[in-house]
């Protein structure tokens, strides 16, 4: 079967259990088993090729530019691991089907399990280190889900996050390492990288790469100092622990070290780091395991210890070490999975895993006892069981290993580790199964059904078979070991023997077993010492670190983003000025190319007014009404400046906008406090003033710089001046630019205005339909009010002047193309005319007489502008292309008809609609439906003295 299928099957099959959950537990497990089995069989179909020494490959490109491709390969090492993963997987599925209770969501469980299985198979079959990274992280993710499977357990959630964080961290480090490796080798394909041992080890980046990759391996394989997450992952259901934390995932790190062995090993750095970490882990794990009361915790630390052992073997960098490591991987997988399942059975039956509550199960659960004992003895290194063989090889290897120049260091520690290992195995057997039968088990224990004990039993059979007849697997182990060391080095073939003679390893072994028994004998006093000794609790430390990190992150983030706009603005201003200054300071300043123009008294007076009003505004801004007047003067002065500097259109626009803005601000100020209180400290004001002055100096310098220099080449506006009349049909070049040369800008501009109005309307609606409404209705004026709402003089004047202003608006609109003016200013003028009417006779009276909805006016305006643009398509011209002609109809003078005028009409409409809709929305906030509405345009009208009372409603002609 293609390697792709082997990897893909678990992933694709992962969907099935989730879907099949409702079909029943048997179906759910069945389909999972089938999927796994299919992959397993698929793997086996490749066995002949592997045994023949071939490397099976498959390749599909994914991201060729990056070098990340679906490149898979199957050699001895890969086969070995895949075999373990899928084979043990089948057993775990069988076991899990019986282990999970009826309350557990089995579909979810098996989905996660298959995802994990796929990821693991992916790791071991990857021929591309980036692809390997993908699967690597996938195992972290799927194990996160599996560990946290029992969501209601805090230990599960915490264990899951701890595992994810630690292995995630390692994974991220490994990304770095792998990328360096790929950069050195020039490819991310393993097959290429494995050929580049010399180049890689000679590269200055070898050490960083090595450290980063080992970080990944050590975290995944729970090597010191990252061993602490593994015991907490034991909160997972036992099948998970058995599968992930003994047989497969934790071995991923080991696998990777084995996989990269040809290129990474053999250097002093590798030796020191890997061996030391392995040795410490082995010793530490075994010591902790001894004192664990939770069966699974005990097993977990034993796993840590054994992984340390394997790591140490790989660290030696010798071929024999690699060979021994491979063999121990195999053996450990068999006995450890069996042990986990046994522990699970005990837990399942006795409803406790606490070793202190157990004992005497030998007679109650004979089958389980047999299985567990054989597996534990194998782990303890008792002859004729497979654990003995590989442990002896390990001890043998240590006698050739000299660390830090001390010859006895490694053998002594290894022996001590083995001793402790034997001790906890004996304790496991003794305190669980031996001793008197108790009467206080949480539940009455008995052997489970065959579905649960058969899987571990199968494994124990292997334990015994390999232990007695190691030659059966010898060729296979050699094959795998060869794959590890790669084609470059020769494996000094050693036959696996039970009896090597009286070699040091044997003495060490004996010492370990005897010592182990002794330790168990004096366990109680040892435990007292252990309990009394202070020792860091990983869980507490981890949680403290995470919570500290989170608290620090919170403290940092929330103090940085404290919701203070003033702070954000301050930082922004400082950043802008600083960046601008830096750009300036690192540049060159040439001589001025333009002369200063003389300024007469009038500009100076205007300037003084502008400065005075600005400064006045800054100092008097707390009086908001006065501030409004002052900003009005600033605007007025700017307008006058525009007039002076040859920009009549701008002056008109600025001035009209100013008026509308003031009206708008007055409408808003009606609701707001009329004074701004003093809240900031003097120091803060000084600081703000400092920033403000820096900003002012910056813009001053910049403006002055540009004003004294010409542009680097002729401004494009030369073209506009030259072609405005010829091509645009207008003599007001500014207007022609607006409606023709850059009509597209104007199109966007009126849309901005239209959106503003829609927004204001929408928000008003929202406010009036929300909790604000009540507040508005109950609002009392915060200042005394005069009696005359709609003064007569104003009303009468408006009657005459509004039509005149409308006419002026029309005039400005028409003239815009050739003289100052245009649709925008006209629109503002017309709006102001209508606003005058609103101010004179009030909102209700005036609004009732408006014939056109402002929404419609905006929409129509924007549409007209757009459709005018589209109109040019029909004559084969681009959007907004203008055309014009001159016509003469007596008695009128010749006049110009331009499509630009139509566009300008759209502008005009949009402006009128937008301004009016905005102002109307503001007014609606103040409008109170419960106040009496006037039927008259003015409050006081003596001509009504004799007139009959007006019937309300009749007056609303044209409304």
């Amino acid at each position: 079967m293609s390697l792709f299928f082997i990897v893909a099957l678990p992933f694709l099959g992962a969907l099935l259990p989730g879907i099949m959950n409702s079909a029943g537990r048997a179906a759910c497990a069945g389909v999972t088993f089938t999927v796994s089995l299919a992959a397993f069989v698929g793997l086996l179909t490749n066995l002949p090729a592997v045994l023949a020494g071939e490397v099976v490959t498959a390749r599909v490109e994914w991201m060729p530019e990056l070098g990340l491709n679906f490149t898979l390969m199957l050699d001895g090492l890969g086969f070995f691991f895949a075999f373990l993963i899928l084979g043990i997987g089948l057993l775990i599925i069988t076991y899990g089907r019986h282990y999970l209770s009826r309350d557990d969501h089995m579909g979810e469980f098996f989905t996660y399990l298959l995802l994990f299985q796929g990821a693991m198979v992916g790791i071991v079959l990857s021929d591309n280190i980036l692809l390997l990274l993908v699967f690597w992280e996938l195992t972290s993710l799927s194990s996160f889900l599996l560990i946290g499977y029992w969501k209601h357990l805090p230990e599960g959630r915490q264990g899951a996050r701890m595992a994810l964080t630690v292995t995630g961290m390692g994974g991220l480090a490994m990304i770095g390492g792998m990328l360096i490796l790929g950069q050195i080798a020039g490819s991310y394909d393993l097959s290429v990288i494995l050929q580049n041992r010399e180049a890689i080890q000679a590269d200055p980046l070898y050490v960083p790469a090595l450290i980063l990759i080992l970080l990944g391996c050590f975290t995944k394989s729970a090597q010191f100092p990252f061993h602490f997450w593994l015991p907490h992952a034991m909160a997972a259901p036992t099948p998970v622990s058995a599968y992930l934390h003994s047989a497969t995932m934790v071995k991923a790190g080991i696998f990777l070290m084995a996989r990269m062995w040809p290129v990474l090993s053999g250097t002093p750095e590798w030796f020191v780091i890997v061996t030391t970490a392995g040795l410490i882990t082995m010793v530490l794990g075994s010591v902790i395991a001894l004192f664990k009361h939770d069966l699974k915790a005990l097993l977990a630390f034993s796993t840590v210890s054994h992984l340390g052992l394997i790591t140490m073997l790989l660290g030696t960098g010798t071929t024999f070490g690699a060979f021994a490591a491979v063999f121990h991987i195999l053996n450990h997988a068999t006995f450890k999975a069996a042990l986990f399942m046994s522990a699970g059975i005990v837990d399942h039956e006795a409803k406790t895993r606490d070793i202190r509550q157990l004992g005497g199960l030998r007679t109650l659960m004979p089958v389980t006892f047999t299985i567990a004992t054989l597996a534990a003895l194998s782990m303890a290194g008792i002859p004729f069981l497979n654990g003995f063989l590989s442990k002896e090889m390990m001890l043998e290897e240590t006698t050739h290993t000299v660390l830090f120049g001390v010859w006895w260091l490694v053998p002594a520690l290894a022996t001590f580790g083995s001793l402790m290992s034997a001790a906890y195995c004996f304790r496991f057997i003794g305190h669980t199964f031996l001793g008197p039968v108790r009467d206080d088990y949480p539940a009455k224990p008995h052997d489970p059904n065959a579905g649960m004990w058969m899987p571990p039993a199968l494994l124990v059979v292997l334990v015994v078979v390999i232990g007695v007849a190691p030659f059966l697997v010898q060729d296979f182990v050699i094959l795998v070991a060869k794959a590890v060391i790669g084609g470059t080095a020769d494996l000094e073939v050693k036959y696996i023997k039970i009896w090597h003679g009286l070699v040091p390893a044997l003495y060490m072994s004996v010492a370990a077993v005897v010592g182990g028994l002794l330790v168990v004998a004096i366990f109680k006093p040892l435990l007292k010492i252990w309990d009394a000794a202070p020792r860091p609790e990983a869980k507490v430390i981890f949680e403290a670190i995470v919570e500290t990190a989170a608290a620090a992150a919170r403290g940092f983030t929330h103090s940085l983003h404290n919701g203070a706009f003033t702070r954000y603005a301050m930082i922004g201003f400082v950043a802008i000025v600083a960046a601008g200054y830096h750009a300036w300071a690192t540049g060159t300043v040439g001589a001025a190319t333009r002369d200063l123009q003389e300024a007469g008294a009038v500009p100076i007076a205007g300037w003084a007014m502008l400065v005075a009003s600005t400064v006045g505004l800054v100092f008097l801004h707390r009086n908001r009404f006065l501030a409004l007047i002052l900003i009005g003067i600033v605007g007025l002065m700017v307008s006058i400046g525009f007039v002076f500097l040859s920009a009549p259109d701008l002056a008109m626009t600025q001035f009209t906008v100013e008026v509308v803005t003031i009206i708008l601000l007055l409408l808003a100020l009606n609701f707001l406090p009329k004074q701004t209180p003093v809240e900031s400290t003097a120091l803060r004001r000084i600081r703000d003033a400092g920033v403000a002055i820096a900003g002012g100096l910056a813009t001053f310098a910049l403006a002055y710089h540009y004003l004294l220099r010409d542009a680097v080449s002729t401004p494009i506006s030369e073209f506009h001046l030259a072609n405005s009349y010829k091509g645009g049909g207008g003599t007001n070049v500014v207007n022609v630019i607006l409606v023709d040369f850059r009509g597209f800008d104007t199109y966007g501009e009126i849309i901005v205005l239209g959106i503003a109005a829609l927004l204001i309307y929408a928000l008003t609606e929202t406010l009036l339909n929300g909790p604000v409404r009540r507040r508005l209705l109950n609002r009392l004026p915060d200042q005394p009010r005069a009696g005359d709402m709609h003064p007569m003089m104003m009303v009468v004047l408006t009657r005459v002047i509004m039509p005149v202003v409308l006419m002026v608006g029309f005039y400005i609109f028409l003239r815009g193309h050739n003289e100052p003016g245009g649709g925008f200013i006209a629109g503002l003028v017309v709006s102001i005319a209508v606003v005058m009417q609103y101010m004179a006779s009030g909102f209700s009276w005036a609004a009732a007489r408006i014939r056109y909805p402002y929404h419609g006016i905006i929409g129509a305006g924007v549409l007209i502008a757009g459709l005018t643009g589209i109109g040019s398509w029909f004559v084969g011209k681009p959007f907004l292309t203008s055309d014009f002609t001159y016509v003469r109809i007596p008695p009128f003078n010749e006049f110009e008809l331009a499509t630009a005028a139509l566009f300008d009409l759209g502008v005009f409409q949009a402006v009128v609609g937008a301004v009016m809709l905005s102002l109307e929305s503001f007014s609606r906030l103040a409008h109170r439906p419960n106040t009496p509405e006037s039927d008259h345009p003015m409050d006081i009208d003596p001509s009504r003295d004799e007139a009959p009372p007006v019937v309300p409603g009749l007056e609303k002609e044209g409304g």
Partner: protein, 166 residues
Amino acid sequence: MGAAFRWLMPHPFLTLILAVVWVLLQNNVTAGMVVFGIILGILIPWITSAWWPDTPKGFRLGKMLSYSVIVIWDIVVANIQVAWIVLTVPNSKLKPAWIVVPLKLKQPEAITVLAGTITLTPGTVSADLSDEGHSLLVHVLHTDDPDGVRDEIKDRYERRLLEIFV
């Protein structure tokens, strides 16, 4: 005919004003401009008629013109007077006063013209209207004889306006 005219031209005087405004805006008196001005003068009041519902009755244009001449003359004289007061009379010697002008005028347009005239002419500003609209409050800048000012207002302006707005 009358109704149709009223509908077409709710405020004939306004139409006239608008036509003049149009010609002034164009800064150019041609036939075309005048015609166009009249068209606009009809069109715009028609659009805005809803906001000027009641047409003032019996407006006398001729008398209005002569009234305007008087007012313009008064404005010129008054301004010189006020300028003199501003420049020469010290604050301590200034004798400002409130005067109340009881109104015979009823039409808002008429009252407004009167109030406007008062503001534009000798040292007086129309400040307020009483709450039923029967008296006008006027502020005088400098006078020894408030009642005389009141009588002159009534005689010189209100009397004429009563003839214009019948």
